[in-house]
Amino acid sequence: MTSKRISLTVNGEVVEYDVDARRLLVHFLRDDLDLTGTHVGCDTGNCGACTVLYNGVAAKSCMLLAIQADGATVETVESLAADGELTPLQQAFSANHALQCGYCTPGMLMSAKHLLDTNPHPSEDEIRKAIQGNICRCTGYVNIVEAIKSVAK
């Protein structure tokens, strides 16, 4: 079985690690790097709880192999409040009650970040389309959309 030393940038830091070819990126992030903010929800690519920014775009880390990420740049939810201060997007999720159990929130935040990075003033339709790949079973999405809208103005 292929095992390889990979080198990638995670939340601004270069990390080097030996990984087996079969290791999913999400397990590498959570179990090897202890970045447990990225969640494993469905493990089938449907729920989006494992969403990270991969080379700058939203991707589901359960549908990537860690070994593919050699040379890549990955940003996880931990990159958002790196200095301990919530970002405006995170504050908006709090202020708008955009979560209940919080399980989907890391993926939701990374999808929202990807949207706002590429389209700072999205319409409500664009917001809904942007979080289509992130399933939330608590909120009914209304407050999540409101939260994103409040920082998109």
């Binding site: 079985m1 690519g45 589901k60 549908m63 990537l64 070994i67 990807h114 790949g133």
Partner: protein, 272 residues
């Protein structure tokens, strides 16, 4: 989830990729991985070697060939297609596949080479009359869309071969319509039409491969009036033998095929 043990290679050239694929019986090309990684989790596929195509930059991109036709590299992502306006229908259909994350990673080559009968691009590319350039140890060959799709998960890309590009002939009057499981979900039935010098119509999800609706094409001829298109499509369902499953009965799929073929043709007609 823990996948079965697998070897991994990341070739730097198409030639190296083909050598790896040809020399290893259990090798599979890994494009965006939005299907393959999941079927590996389910152990529906258990390749011995993954040949990761991400460094083959030549395979990614959309090129206007100048004569109205467009060449698309197999590693072009859905997001790339959405961002490009070389042929409107490609971006529109790509934008209706799954979600942002999948569109950022999934590729048109992966979509057609996996040839899941519910995929969007197989019927669309049949309707557009696309040509597929396949490279292998013996060189390069071109296959028409009508000959590319061979069976469920099976295409003309054989062992040791790689899809390099997809070429779409000149045109622009194209339409696509589908009934899906939820918005932008899996297709239950889909239909694609292209009206560039006679109608080409293909139906998806009703057989192992996209079904060319040749009789319907002939009946429509050059009379694109809504009345004629509807009349011509009325009997389409009787010529199909679609599967029944939890999402739709065979009869309902026959009905949808006729309805969606009309929608696709009329959408194509409305296009400037």
């Amino acid at each position: 989830m823990l996948l079965r043990e697998v070897e991994y290679a990341r070739p730097g050239s198409v030639e190296e990729a083909i050598r790896l694929l040809a020399d290893n019986d259990g090798a599979r090309a890994l494009a965006g991985g939005q299907t393959l990684i999941n079927v590996m989790k389910a152990r529906a596929a258990s390749p011995d070697l993954l040949v990761d195509l991400q460094d083959l930059r030549d395979l990614r991109g959309i090129r206007d060939l100048g004569n109205g036709s467009v060449e698309i590299g197999a590693m072009t992502t859905y997001a790339d297609l959405v961002a490009d306006d070389a042929r409107s229908i490609l971006g529109e259909v790509a934008a209706s596949i799954a979600d942002v994350q999948v569109r950022n990673r999934g590729t048109i080559g992966g979509n057609v080479c996996s040839n899941d009968p519910t995929n969007h691009f197989p019927p669309l590319l049949v309707a557009l009359g696309a040509r597929f350039t396949i490279v292998g140890p013996g060189g390069e060959r071109e296959v028409s869309a009508d000959d590319f799709f061979l069976g469920v998960y099976l295409t003309a890309v054989g062992p040791g071969e790689l899809l390099r590009t997809i070429t779409i002939p000149a045109g622009g009057q194209d339409g696509f319509a589908a009934v899906t499981i939820g918005r932008d979900g899996t297709c239950i039935v889909s239909a694609a039409a292209s009206l560039n010098g006679g109608a080409r119509i293909a139906i998806g999800c009703v057989d192992a491969v996209p079904v060319r609706a040749r009789e319907l094409e002939e009946r429509i001829g050059h009379d694109l009036s809504e009345e004629n298109v509807r009349a011509a499509a009325a009997s389409l369902g009787t010529m199909l033998d679609p599967p029944s499953d939890v999402h739709a009965s065979a009869d309902y799929r026959r009905h949808l095929a006729g309805v969606l073929a009309v929608r696709a043709v009329l959408a194509a007609k409305e296009r400037p």
